[in-house]
């Protein structure tokens, strides 16, 4: 946690975006390690693969398209206002955690709603040794379907915005090429 905080501070301070994207990858990797400590192996898996791997690559791809230096903008008043908003939100979030049950508390609400049923019955009803999988794909099939659609929508959105622009540029280049050859021909 301390390391995550340190990396977060470094991300906020550093102006070189290349270093920032690397640091955010490191942040995700530490986060994945934290999930392993909390016994959430599936989540850690995803965090390591998506957070540390893919999103870093995508950020680097974006940096290659734009620039690797952060533009300094905004006055002092702007940054003070932003700091106030962040501080208040953070304070509210921390205040909210006071009501949460302690980690590993056996009378916590999360252990009493549907979880005992999943743990006791999923072996008979679904027959999967990994309860996470049976909850994800069977009991919560609709949620997972929704997530798949979210990913699908993300990809089609990126295609619709960036894929189109690329094609138009190619068309223009092709047009220029054609007019160029025409000039040469004439």
């Amino acid at each position: 946690m301390l390391m995550m905080g340190a990396v977060g501070l470094a991300i906020a301070r550093i102006r070189d975006l290349f270093a920032v994207s690397m640091l955010s990858g490191i942040f995700s990797l530490i986060g994945a390690a934290a999930y392993v400590v909390l016994d959430a192996v599936d989540v850690a898996f995803t965090e390591a693969a998506v957070g540390a791997g893919i999103s870093t690559v995508l950020m680097l791809g974006t940096l290659a398209l734009t620039t690797r230096k952060e533009k300094m903008g905004g006055g002092k008043s702007k940054s003070t206002a932003a700091f106030l908003v962040v501080a208040v939100t953070g304070a509210v979030l921390v205040y909210g955690t006071f009501d949460m049950p302690r980690y590993g508390d056996k009378i916590a609400a999360i252990h009493h709603h549907v979880v005992p049923r999943y743990i006791e019955k999923s072996g008979e009803e679904v027959g999967m040794p990994n309860i996470v999988t049976s909850v994800l794909a069977s009991y919560r099939g609709y949620d997972t379907l929704g997530e798949v659609f979210v990913i699908f929508t993300a990809a089609t959105g990126v295609l619709a915005i960036l894929g189109r622009a690329r094609r138009r540029r190619e068309d223009e280049e092709a047009d220029e090429g054609r007019s160029g050859t025409k000039e040469i021909a004439s």
């Binding site: 893919i54 679904v126 794909a137 069977s138 997530e147 990913i151 089609t156 990126v158 690329r166």
Partner: protein, 141 residues
Amino acid sequence: MMHRKVVLRVVSKFLIPPILLFALYVQFHGDFGPGGGFQAGVIFGSGFILYAILFGVDMAKRVLPPWSTRLLLVVGVLTYGLTGVAGLLLGGNYLDYNVLAHDPLHGQHYGILIVELGVGITVAAAMITIFNVFAGQTGGD
């Protein structure tokens, strides 16, 4: 892109097949260990992305042309959705896998396997598509 990085190219050539194999392992072993469609799809996609980073997007597109990833994107979502519809047609609820086989447990097993495959295909195709589009902006160098 990186034509002179011999070490990186050789090491990645050794690494990419195990990465893809590991993705398949995560995909089909998700019933027993940690993992599943999402993780497998991301790992599979990152194997291709590693290839594209080292050997250039054009080489990667020769292995897996853009139309094929777009097709796979749709195939993945449809696999998931149609598994639900198959449950409907066989007399169950939407996404009810019990009716997919004679034994409800087997039905659940098949259902989860197919659905996770759909998830994996979608995620892998989405990752490769997004990366290709991002990297293709610079002109594929």
